[in-house]
Amino acid sequence: MSNIFKKILFIFSIFVFTQNLIANEQIDVKNKLLDKMDKIIIIVQNKNIPISKRNNKIIDLLTPTFDFELMAKLSLGKKAWKELNAENKKKFTKLYVKRMEKSYSSKLDKYSNEVVEVKEIQQPKKNRIYLITDLVNNNKKLEIIYKYYKPKNQKLNKDNWLIYDVEILGVSILKTDKAQFKEFLQTNTIYALMEVISK
């Protein structure tokens, strides 16, 4: 009888151990994000740093967590991406990353004491984690979901979990960009698109 009990306990402990590993992964991702946000807030609140330098510092901090290259690719869509030659692929990615950085920097300029609170962590697949957060200011909450994936092979100078999409109040950056690019390319060339996003 006691043998059976021990066996069950053993199998159960293995089960707990593996579950624990999954939970740890989620907590790691969460802590990393909150840690980054704290660092960003400290930089933003320091009024002695000139704005351009401040923005560069923050972008350096965020770059290892975001897979901008993947976002560029996905937002252009399979068909349009495949039609580009290697050089233009590189060029488009570079312009897309610059555009994201610019957009993020301009949002930082409007920062006024918001705090990030993680309210839920979801793991819809083994290699996906969604951090559901609220950006809280003056009792007002803005729901932002950070969507992470784990690449098969860790990328150079990148974290092992990477953000590939951000959803603000249900509006996904990836989906919105994809729809925009698709519609634009129906009547314009990819060169015109690159011209527009470089502005």
């Binding site: 043998n3 021990k6 066996k7 053993f10 199998i11 293995i14 993947l70 690719k73 996905l74 937002s75 869509g77 399979k78 991406w81 495949k82 957009s103 301009s106 949002k107 409007k110 009792n139 969507k147 994936y149 590939y164 999409d165 109040l169 249900g170 509006v171 996904s172 950056i173 990836l174 989906k175 919105t176 994809k178 729809a179 925009q180 690019f181 698709k182 519609e183 634009f184 698109l193 527009v196 996003i197």
Partner: protein, 266 residues
């Protein structure tokens, strides 16, 4: 016996990975011709397939795109050249706290709309909370000027309108329509303004029940004031939203439809 089982378990748990690897190696060496070189193209295909669900965009029914484009640029000019300067002027004269209170007041008046639509969607808990909010804010919050329900009683607002109620029962958005002044909408949400307005005490028709305004002019005045006051609280929001657009009309249309989908799902 127990030891044997332990070893078996350990072997099962920790070496399954290794054993499957062994089999694959055997296969690879036995049938080398089947070994495929993964090219950049294959990797790209795999990547796009993996993220297909994340990038799937809804095709929006848009038969009025010509008119919509025109109305979007009309609204854009209106926001830039009329509403923004008016709101900025208003902001410098009226303190934020006062504007916030006025917004609370108008918001409190929309309680009948919210509670009805919560009930219509069988969200009884939310309807009860809305009622609690209305009672607290109308009394302690002085006719809704303040929001003690949220600040002291932790009662959150549950915004629901008739468009969301219809969406909840599976009614699709229909063609996208950009409304003058109010911006992006669709057939479902535009029509829903009518039943919602019946529940609003700011109204222009002669009703049997209590309304705050009775004539067109008082109605229009109250509505415009509510609109400008609301805009003044978020003057920069529109500009900030616009920054990420490549082509304003489809961008706003998409943002609106995604946002409404999210509201309906909640």
């Amino acid at each position: 016996m127990l030891k044997l089982l332990y070893i078996l378990c350990l072997a099962l748990v920790f070496f399954t990975g290794c054993s499957s690897k062994d089999i694959s190696q055997i296969n690879a060496s036995t049938y080398p011709q089947e070994k495929k070189l993964t090219t950049d193209e294959d990797m790209n295909d795999e990547l796009f397939d993996e993220f297909e669900d994340d990038t799937k965009t809804k095709d929006i029914f848009d038969p009025f795109s010509g008119y919509n484009r025109f109305m979007t640029s009309f609204n854009d000019k209106l926001y830039i050249y009329a509403l923004t300067p008016i709101s900025r002027g208003y902001n410098t004269v009226i303190h934020y706290e006062i504007r916030k209170s006025i917004s609370n007041l108008f918001n409190n008046l929309q309680y009948p709309t919210r509670v009805t639509n919560n009930i219509l969607q069988a969200k009884f808990q939310n309807a009860a909370e809305e009622t609690g909010r209305f009672v607290l804010n109308t009394t302690i919050g002085i006719l809704g000027l303040f929001d003690p329900a949220k600040n002291y009683f932790n009662l959150e607002a549950h915004e629901e309108d008739f468009g969301q109620t219809l969406g909840y029962y599976g009614v699709g958005g229909g063609p996208h329509i950009v409304l003058p002044l109010f911006g992006p909408s669709n057939l479902r949400d535009a029509i829903s303004i009518i039943p919602d307005s019946y529940l609003n005490p700011i109204d222009y028709t002669n009703r049997e029940w209590f309304t705050l305004t009775d004539t067109w002019w008082t109605y229009l005045g109250a509505k415009s004031y509510e609109y400008v006051n609301e805009f003044s609280l978020n003057v920069d929001s529109y500009d900030r939203l616009k920054e990420d657009s490549i082509d304003l009309y489809p961008y706003l249309r998409d943002v609106y439809e995604q946002y409404r989908d999210k509201q309906i799902k909640e």
